[in-house]
């Protein structure tokens, strides 16, 4: 891809807005359309675009497979931990209302953290799947 000047420049221009948009979809998800899954896919797509243009090996330096693998687990654990915390605070599993003094704030906080967990796992899984397929037969 060294000679595709246009592709490289456009990708460099596009990747930051893509990642920013992913964060917007993530954190604005409780007010507008969006949420963790969509945000995770968009965020992962940013990395995949980078890997397509600049090569998988370069992309692996940015998103190291070992770290991505940890992120896969961390997202799910974040989700599950919210459930366990609400259970310890006396609610039922995933009952966000007990997370704060005010049930409405609790609901807000709970869905916020859970969607973050979903976003992290989905982005990490997207990147892992792409890396796995793209590096087939090379190592």
């Amino acid at each position: 891809m060294r000679h595709h000047l246009i592709l490289r420049i456009v990708a460099k221009l596009l990747i930051p807005p893509i990642l920013l948009f992913a964060l917007y979809v993530q954190f604005h998800g409780d007010f507008g359309p969006g949420g963790g899954f969509q945000a995770g896919v968009i965020f992962g797509a940013g990395f995949i675009l980078y890997a397509l243009i600049f090569g998988v090996e370069t992309a692996k330096k940015v998103a190291q497979p070992e770290i991505v693998r940890v992120m896969v687990a961390v997202g799910v654990l974040l989700y599950g931990a919210v459930g366990l915390v609400s259970l310890l605070l006396g609610g039922s599993y995933l009952d966000y209302s007990v997370l704060a003094h005010d049930p409405v704030r609790g609901q807000h906080l709970g869905i916020f953290i859970i969607e973050l967990g979903v976003g992290i796992t989905v982005a990490a899984v997207m990147i892992t799947i792409f890396f796995t397929f793209a590096s087939r037969g090379r190592s």
């Binding site: 693998r69 940890v70 896969v72 599950g80 459930g83 366990l84 259970l87 039922s92």
Partner: protein, 493 residues
């Protein structure tokens, strides 16, 4: 305080242990975590069953949202029993796992293997625990996706095609189930099973509900490998790693049979499922054809894992046969055989795991003379085989007994005769192993073959011993199965 959360913890503990295995990424730690999570699940399942039998139905509202709006977990005698089966098999298989897994799966994949196993366990437990039709589909996907991964880890490269075949068939099945659930939602506006059961009779005469019943029955039949939708099963079982075969054979299809019971009897209700539609006239012949065709094919298999896989198809036929009588005795036979078959096949596949550990193959040509070299392993296979045939004092006899009773009760004595003939076919294919292993001389060069290590034999004999224990002491199994059957039929009327 903790006891009220048991229905959720039953599923959540294995589900959250899986990512922890991924984090540690160490074979030994992952195994210990899996064993602990499975044992905890077993304890929880036992406590739940005990609570259900004393107190009655337990419900749990996930997130504190009241049913029918929120997702509700609902534990009754039927699924408490299924939870116990799945968790018990999971625990025994995990205690068997470390040596067998180390010999069959590459070192760097072992931690991932345990993570996938835990997800599969969580999915199967979730299917059983939930009272929400869509939540059931989600857990079905969790268990299916992880079982495709587990099967593809087999040493033989054909495991990949077997897993892919299962993936295609399983996805079609899951899609059918989703369409069925979607149609039900369209007609009633609810996904909660108890609520569906209340609302469905009002719209029972519509074609949409009939289509939903058809989609769900076909989709679940694919997952439980009812003849003629069983073609994915033999290869999947034959080429998967030994531990995976034992686990999935003993739990996967059982949970699918439970799904069928749940939808036909609880959601649709026996009247709607069986009187309005011609389901018994479809299921009864199909199950009998399954028994005969699969048993006959099993006789001609050279790979013993494949042979037992075909035998599983036949045994599933017996379960569906019991179901298709729509009587308390028939359902008792179905639920009993669900439990008993898990014990037999779990035990037999673990014994085969011992053979594969020592020989590296499950081909019958390698079995010559092994009966004397590996006496304990082959004694286990013989006892398991006797149970499969249905010899008195084993669990197989108990389930066949109730099946024959149910057939006679419904006045179809010829079905009872066919069940007995089907058992004779099991004698034929099990005898082949006995003949080769005990009556043929061992080849000279294979003389260094020894008995399998104790850490593999012990879990095998726990399951094989359970075959005899529950064959003599039938109070628990028959009692629970009967209560579950009465509950399923009573819940319908």
């Amino acid at each position: 305080m903790i006891s009220q959360h048991l229905p959720a913890l039953q599923v959540v503990i294995p589900l959250l242990t899986a990512p922890v295995c991924l984090l540690f990424n160490n074979a030994r730690v992952a195994w210990i975590l899996s064993l602990v999570a499975s044992s905890v699940a077993l304890v929880i399942a036992a406590l739940l069953l005990q609570q259900v039998l004393t107190v009655g139905i337990l419900t749990y509202e996930i997130g504190g949202w009241a049913a029918p709006w929120g997702i509700e977990y609902r534990i009754d005698p039927v699924n408490a029993f299924v939870l116990l089966i799945v968790a018990a098999i999971g625990t025994v298989v995990m205690s068997f796992a470390p040596r067998s897994v180390a010999s069959e799966i590459p070192e760097q994949q072992i931690a991932l293997f345990y993570a996938a196993y835990l997800l599969c366990l969580a999915g199967l437990l979730g299917i059983a625990a939930t009272g929400d039709a869509f939540n059931l589909f989600v857990f079905l996907e969790i268990s299916s996706l992880s079982s495709y991964v587990l099967i593809s880890l087999g040493r033989d490269r054909r495991a990949l095609t077997a897993a892919f075949q299962y993936l295609i068939m399983g996805t079609i099945g899951a899609t059918f189930i989703l369409i069925g659930v979607g149609l039900l939602y369209m007609m009633t506006g609810t996904l909660n099973m108890a609520d569906l059961a209340k609302r469905l009779p009002l719209v029972a005469d519509t074609r949409t509900v009939a289509a939903a019943l058809a989609f769900l029955t076909v989709g679940i039949s694919l997952k439980l490998a009812l003849f003629p939708l069983h073609l994915w099963l033999p290869n999947a079982y034959a080429f998967a790693p030994s531990v995976v075969t034992a686990f999935i054979a003993a739990t996967g299809t059982k949970v699918a049979v439970y799904m069928l019971l749940r939808f036909l009897f609880t959601v649709f209700g026996a009247t709607l499922s069986f009187e309005a539609v011609l389901l018994p006239t479809i299921l009864l012949p199909l199950s009998l054809v399954a028994v005969f065709s699969a048993s006959i094919v099993a006789i001609f298999q050279d790979n013993i894992k494949r042979m037992l896989a075909y035998s599983s198809v036949a045994q599933i036929g017996y379960m569906i046969l019991g179901l298709s009588f729509v009587s308390v005795t028939g359902l008792t036979a179905c639920i009993l055989h669900l439990f008993n078959h898990a014990l037999m096949k779990g035990g037999l596949f673990l014994a085969l795991g011992c053979v594969v550990y020592q020989l590296g193959s499950a081909d019958i040509s390698k079995f010559a003379g092994l009966g004397r070299r590996m006496p304990w392993t082959f004694a286990a296979i013989v006892v398991g085989g006797l149970s499969l045939i249905g010899v008195p004092l084993t669990v197989g006899f108990i389930s066949k007994w109730y099946l024959v009773l149910a057939a006679l009760e419904s006045g179809q004595w010829w079905v009872a005769v066919l069940v007995l003939i089907g058992s004779l076919l099991a004698v034929v294919y099990m005898w082949r192993i006995v003949e080769v292993a005990f009556f043929q001389p061992a080849p000279r060069q294979g003389s260094q073959r020894r008995e399998a290590p104790l850490s593999l034999l012990l879990p095998t004999w726990v399951l094989i011993g359970a075959n005899i224990f529950f064959g003599i002491n039938t109070d628990l199994t028959v009692g629970v199965a009967q209560r579950a059957a009465v509950w399923l039929l009573g819940g319908a009327s």
